[in-house]
């Protein structure tokens, strides 16, 4: 870190919306060549602050200063022209266009008569892509790329501007470990070029790996700035939520009951092959592996969304076929899907209606929906899961990620399933809600549920599981008990390094 003037400074930003003081005098300073983490629970004001910086909201009070010049961000385009570049969590690419067209959209190099200079365009693009060491070229159609590679395109786009500051919003949410390494190299490179970086993430390991300082927001106000090298997870968590968290290995084993679900030799085309496992009542089985290892596809098969090509599914010892989600639900299987907003919730609907959606046919008073019974169910699970919402009439889209996830969990718990499958239970959720959800999963197992947890986060899998199934490329490599698992042998199993099936 140099002693130079800040690349970007936000001073006492205040932003109020009708009824809410979203930002209450927040200040933030990013030096050139610094990676500055911005942390806080969902709803702490991070997104609002970034929207102010990006010109989507105008602050009521306070100043934005770029390279010592107070500026006003009139629009996102204006912010970009002033050297503030955003890499968004939700990608904004045109999937039918090529990588090159996406990167230079709006400023395509031109020849005479306003025609696009394709040669120059592709040359420029390949130059940038070379820096990022990606495995695709300028002419690749964006829609053909993985999410991670699409993110690389976003980053490449940022590199075309003379950026003073680059904001990364949860950039690793959908990246594999290898892709993360590339991303961190890119960030280091930007850093060397004197660009200030704001890094928004919930993932502690990344924060400690790549950031220099950490600023924390809570409830719309600034709580402090820590030097990464001189702090620890506890201190950050304390600032964020005002208490500390436990993310240790799971050691409490419940009394195990009968086998609720058994899968024998299940295959589904190329997605996964010859998968066998069992889940007992009272047990949490974690499925760990890289994105694309086939974990989600297994869950979808069990929930009737995919037809298996071979193998058997046994529920309580009875062989069964699951034809549709409705069929799965009637057989006592519930799935909390990985994409909360896309698959889990109808965002425009209220909390109560979302929660009771799978059983709306059963909650009847005569021909009508028994709304009283619905409210009772909602109240019960709101209290049990500590869902923070003004009331059941609240539109689900207005809740924070953690509370949304609790609505989805409540929705499936209220079905009293025999087997509960939870896919990525805490993706994009703040640490406070995360630990509540972990505790809840353990608690559910304690009450005799058979639980499958699919997760890409190792600490999470280690924390909640009694046994861990490691998957690689559509196959189960090994099943660990929580006593024999270590971070090392788990990583090896899921990266296909030592195909040690002997255990």
């Amino acid at each position: 870190m140099s002693q130079s003037t800040p690349a970007l400074r936000l001073e006492n930003i205040v932003k109020t919306f009708p009824g809410v003081r979203a930002l209450d005098g927040v200040s933030l300073e990013v030096l050139p060549g610094e990676v500055h983490a911005l942390m806080g629970e969902n709803g702490a004001g991070k997104s609002t602050l970034m929207k102010v910086l990006g010109g989507l909201h105008q602050p009521d009070e306070g100043k934005i200063i770029v390279s010592e010049q107070p500026v006003r961000m009139a629009s996102p385009l204006d912010a970009k022209s002033k050297g503030i570049v955003f890499i968004h969590q939700e990608l904004s690419l045109a999937s039918e266009l090529t990588v090159a067209e996406n990167i230079y959209l709006g400023e395509l190099p031109k020849k005479r008569f306003g025609l696009v200079d394709w040669q120059k365009l592709y040359a420029q693009t390949d130059e940038i892509l070379a820096k990022l060491k990606v495995g695709f070229n300028a002419k690749t159609r964006v829609g053909d790329l993985s999410i991670a590679n699409q993110q690389m395109v976003e980053i490449a786009r940022a590199l075309t501007v003379d950026a003073k500051a680059v904001i990364f919003d949860e950039p690793t949410a959908s990246l594999t470990d290898a892709e993360k390494v590339v991303l961190f190299d890119v960030i280091a490179d930007l850093k060397d070029h004197g660009v200030g970086i704001i890094y928004i993430s919930h993932r502690m390991e990344e924060i400690f790996k790549i950031t220099d300082r950490i600023s924390v927001l809570r409830d719309g106000s600034y709580r402090g700035t820590l030097v990464t090298a001189k702090t620890n997870e506890d201190e950050i968590t304390q600032l964020m939520i005002g208490r500390s968290l436990d993310l240790s290995r799971n050691v409490n084993h419940n009394e195990l009951g009968d086998v609720a679900l058994e899968v024998k030799g299940l295959s589904c085309g190329k997605l996964y092959r010859d998968v066998s496992f069992e889940v007992r009542r009272g047990e949490v089985v974690g499925f760990y592996g890289l994105v694309g290892a086939g974990r989600t596809e297994i869950a979808e098969t069990l929930f009737g969304l995919r037809e298996p090509s071979a193998g058997k599914i046994l529920l309580d010892g009875q062989e069964t076929r699951i034809h549709s989600p409705a069929d799965a639900i009637s057989k006592g299987i519930s799935l909390v899907p990985e994409d909360r907003k896309g698959q889990g919730l109808v965002l425009g609907m209220n909390c109560r209606d979302n929660m009771t959606l799978p059983q709306v046919d059963d909650l009847k008073a005569g021909p009508f929906v028994a709304e009283g019974a619905e409210v009772a169910i909602f109240d019960q699970y709101r209290d049990r899961l500590d869902i923070r919402t003004p009331g059941w009439k609240q539109t689900v889209g207005n809740l924070s990620g953690g509370n949304q996830q609790k609505i989805v969990i409540g929705k499936w718990l209220s079905m009293h399933p025999n087997v509960l499958i939870v896919d990525e239970p805490t993706r994009g959720i703040d640490v406070g809600s995360k630990s509540e959800i972990h505790n809840l999963i353990r608690e559910l197992a304690g009450q005799g549920y058979a639980v499958i947890v699919i997760s890409s986060e190792m600490p999470e899998v280690l924390h909640v599981s009694d046994r861990i199934v490691a998957m690689y490329s559509g196959e189960i490599i090994r099943t660990f008990t929580s006593d024999e698992v270590t971070e090392d042998n788990l990583i090896q199993a899921i990266s296909g390094i030592t195909p040690d099936k002997a255990a």
Partner: protein, 343 residues
């Protein structure tokens, strides 16, 4: 360099959901937009009243509601389709078909059989569309636009291109639906009110209604909740066809004779009414009550324009302007301002 500048001023209530913010903004905007339509409506009404004193005459008002009834009944069914996230552009030519069929059958097999016969045929058309859109998952715009043309052809083929008339217009009881009054209220209005009440309750109070909103709001999430999407969409098109058949019955009974093209262009007016009521074309929102309001607004504006001396044919332009205005205000409500220079 221990710059731990802890600023922990106690704050009693903090914004826990940053999503609230954009919601409040959109909510305020939406309110404004909705009121915008009502304000525009009020201005029109006052203007019409000043321009022509007949406008507020009870007979005129009753006349407007009465002539809106046919369009209104169709709009009720289309409301279900739109909330489920689809479109139905075939209702206009389907209404022509219903009218022609029931008039033709009236003289052939008598009104008592003609009416159920017509309902059955129209419901078959609805089921066919529902199958294509619901089960085969074809784009509803393409399917119903195609059906608009196909059903028109079907009607012309059926009638041989001729207008259809009932032979004995004086001696049939068939005219009760379109021409008689009960307790001083025209039967079309009563039927419109009846269908609106039944469908309003179906949409707002039953599991089926809830599923329509879920399917339109987020079809994937509906599937993940065990809802059989195809069945819901299919049923919406059946309901739409039922409403169209009822509209055809009212039309035939009122005129006892009809051209092949009696419903032509109604699909757009119906859509205008549904959107005016505030249903989103993206699906997931809208109510029967709002659609009824939309129908009445449209009816009064068209009537008012006629009374101030605008040519009848100008209404087609006006309907289009109203659609654009409604869609614009709907979008403006979502982004919180009337227009946005960025994107």
């Amino acid at each position: 360099m221990a710059d731990v500048t802890d600023k922990t001023e106690a704050r009693t209530s903090g914004p826990r959901e940053s999503g609230m913010n954009s919601f409040n903004l959109a909510g305020a905007g939406r309110l404004l937009a909705r009121q915008g339509i009502l304000v525009a409506f009020a201005v029109f009404m006052i203007g019409f009243t000043l321009a022509n004193e007949r406008f507020l005459d009870p007979d005129n008002i009753m006349g407007v509601i009465r002539s809106s009834a046919i369009l209104g009944v169709m709009a009720l069914g289309v409301t279900f389709v739109v909330i489920s996230g689809n479109l139905d552009l075939s209702v206009g030519s389907m209404m022509s078909f219903a009218t022609i069929v029931v008039l033709d059958l009236h003289d052939k097999i008598g009104p008592a059989l003609a009416i159920p016969g017509m309902y059955a045929m129209v419901l078959c058309l609805g089921a066919f569309i529902g199958f294509l859109v619901g089960y085969l998952k074809l784009n509803s715009l393409i399917v119903t636009l195609g059906m608009l043309s196909a059903i028109h052809g079907l009607t012309l083929t059926y009638s041989g291109g001729k207008n259809m008339d009932i032979a004995d217009k004086e001696g049939t009881w068939f005219s009760v639906f379109g021409q008689s009054d009960v307790l001083g209220i025209p039967v079309p209005i009563l039927l419109f009110a009846l269908v609106a009440s039944v469908l309003g309750i179906l949409l707002a109070k039953t599991p089926f209604g809830r599923k329509v909103y879920a399917v339109g709001g987020n079809g994937t999430a509906a599937t993940f909740s065990g809802i059989r999407r195809a069945r819901v969409v299919f049923t919406c098109y059946l309901l739409s066809a039922f409403c169209v058949a009822t509209a055809g019955l009212l039309q035939a009974s009122r005129s006892l004779g009809s051209q092949n093209t009696v419903g032509q262009g109604l699909e757009l007016e119906v859509l205008a009414a549904v959107i005016l009521g505030g249903a989103s074309l993206l699906g997931g929102s809208g109510t029967i009550f709002k659609t009824v309001i939309g129908v009445l607004i449209l009816g009064f504006i068209q009537n008012g324009l006629l009374l101030v001396g605008l040519q009848f044919y100008a209404q087609y332009v006006v309907t289009w302007i109203i659609i654009i205005l409604a869609v614009w205000l709907d979008i403006a409500a979502k982004r919180g301002k009337l227009w946005s220079p960025i994107a």
